[in-house]
C-alpha cells in the first residue's frame, strides 16, 4: 500500500509538471547554438563509450567461443543500432529546433 502511494504521488507530480514543457517554444536565445553543440558532444561521446563497451564485450565473447559467431553478430549489430539511434535522436532534435 505504501508503494502504491508513492507511485500515485509520483504520477500526480508528473501530471502537474506537464504544462512546464509547453512553455517558451518561440524564445530564441543566443545560447542555443552552444547548447546544441554541448548536447551533440555529450550524445556523441557517450554513444562512443557505449558502442566501445558493446564491441569490446562482443569481441571478448567471440574470442572465448568462436562457434557462436552468427548469434553474437546479430545481437552486436542490433545493440549498436539501438545505441546509435540515441545519438541520432539528439541530432534530429538539434536539426529541427536550432536554425
Amino acid at each position: 500500500m505504501r508503494k502504491l502511494q508513492y507511485l500515485f504521488s509520483a504520477l500526480a507530480a508528473l501530471f502537474l509538471a506537464t504544462p512546464a514543457f509547453a512553455q517558451g517554444a518561440d524564445a530564441v536565445s543566443p545560447w542555443t547554438p552552444i547548447g546544441a553543440g554541448i548536447g551533440m558532444a555529450l550524445a556523441a561521446g557517450l554513444c562512443g563509450l557505449a558502442q566501445g563497451k558493446a564491441t569490446a564485450s562482443a569481441t571478448e565473447a567471440l574470442a572465448r567461443n568462436p562457434g557462436a559467431r552468427p548469434g553474437i553478430f546479430t545481437f552486436l549489430i542490433l545493440g549498436l543500432a539501438f545505441i546509435e539511434s540515441l545519438a541520432l535522436f539528439t541530432f534530429v532534435i538539434i536539426f529541427l529546433y536550432v536554425k
Partner: protein, 244 residues
C-alpha cells in the same frame, strides 16, 4: 520552380496534369502546379520500377537445371533473410520471408541510390519514406499477431496481474508507437547525417578526404537496411509468439 532531378523532370513532364487532378480529388494543391512530383517520390518510383523489372526477370528465367546469375542473386538474398528469420522467429517463419526480403531490397536500393550517381538521391534521406515503411511494418506485424493469437493478442498489451492492467496498457501502447518513431528516425537520420557529413567535409577539403566518408556511408547504408529488417523480424517474432 524547385530543383528537379533528371528522372523527376521526365515524370513531371509526363504526369503533372493527372497528378494535379488526383491531388485535387483529395482537396490538396501542390506548391508548384507544374511540378507536383517531388524528387523523393520520383526516386521511390524509380526504385519500385527497378525492383519490379528485377522480380519479373527472375520469374521469367526461373529454372531448376540451369539457374542464371540473376536467380543466384535472388536465391542468395532470399536465403539470407530466410536463415535470419529461422534463427529469430523460429517455427513458421517462411510466410514472412517474402515481405522481409522485399522490404530489405527496397531499403538497400533506396539507401544506395544516393551514392550511385549525382543525378539521383536517396529517398530515405527524407523522413516521409522511412515513416511509410515503418507504418507498413507496424500494420503488418499487428495483423499477423492477431492472426496468430486471435483475441488473446490483447494479453500482450496487459501485464501479468490484473491490477497492473491500467498501468501497463498505456505504457505498452506508447512503446508500440515509439517503435514507429525509432524505426523512422534511425533510418532517416543515418541517411541524412551521412549526406550532410560528406557535404561538410567536401566544403572543408574538396579532394580525397570526402571519399573516405562516402565509403563509411556505403557501410552505414547497408547496415541500416539490415537493422531495419532485423527489427521488423524481432517485432514479428514478439507478435506471433504464444508465450503470453
Amino acid at each position: 520552380m524547385p530543383h528537379q532531378l533528371f528522372f523527376t523532370k521526365i515524370l513531371n513532364d509526363l504526369f503533372a496534369r493527372p497528378v494535379d487532378a488526383l491531388l485535387a480529388m483529395a482537396h490538396q494543391t501542390p506548391k508548384h502546379l507544374d511540378a507536383p512530383i517531388t524528387n523523393t517520390f520520383a526516386m521511390e518510383v524509380l526504385v519500385f520500377l527497378v525492383l519490379v523489372v528485377y522480380f519479373i526477370s527472375i520469374r521469367a528465367t526461373l529454372s531448376v537445371e540451369t539457374p542464371g546469375p540473376v536467380q543466384h542473386l535472388a536465391e542468395m538474398t532470399h536465403g539470407f533473410i530466410n536463415d535470419q528469420g529461422e534463427s529469430i522467429i523460429g517455427h513458421g517463419h517462411e510466410k514472412f520471408t517474402g515481405y522481409l526480403t522485399a522490404l530489405g531490397l527496397f531499403i538497400v536500393m533506396c539507401n544506395l541510390l544516393g551514392l550511385a550517381s549525382p543525378w539521383l538521391e536517396s529517398p530515405t534521406a527524407n523522413p516521409r519514406v522511412p515513416l511509410g515503411l515503418a507504418l507498413v511494418t507496424f500494420v503488418y506485424y499487428h495483423i499477423y499477431g492477431i492472426k496468430a493469437n486471435g483475441f488473446g493478442y490483447v494479453k500482450q498489451f496487459l501485464g501479468p496481474v490484473w491490477w497492473l492492467y491500467p498501468l501497463m496498457l498505456p505504457i505498452e501502447i506508447i512503446s508500440h508507437l515509439a517503435r514507429i518513431l525509432s524505426l523512422t528516425v534511425r533510418l532517416y537520420a543515418n541517411m541524412f547525417a551521412g549526406d550532410l557529413l560528406t557535404l561538410a567535409f567536401f566544403s572543408l577539403v574538396p579532394l580525397g578526404i570526402p571519399l573516405l566518408f562516402l565509403g563509411l556511408h556505403l557501410g552505414v547504408a547497408i547496415v541500416q537496411a539490415y537493422v531495419f529488417v532485423l527489427l521488423a523480424m524481432i517485432y514479428l517474432s514478439l507478435a506471433v509468439s504464444h508465450d503470453h
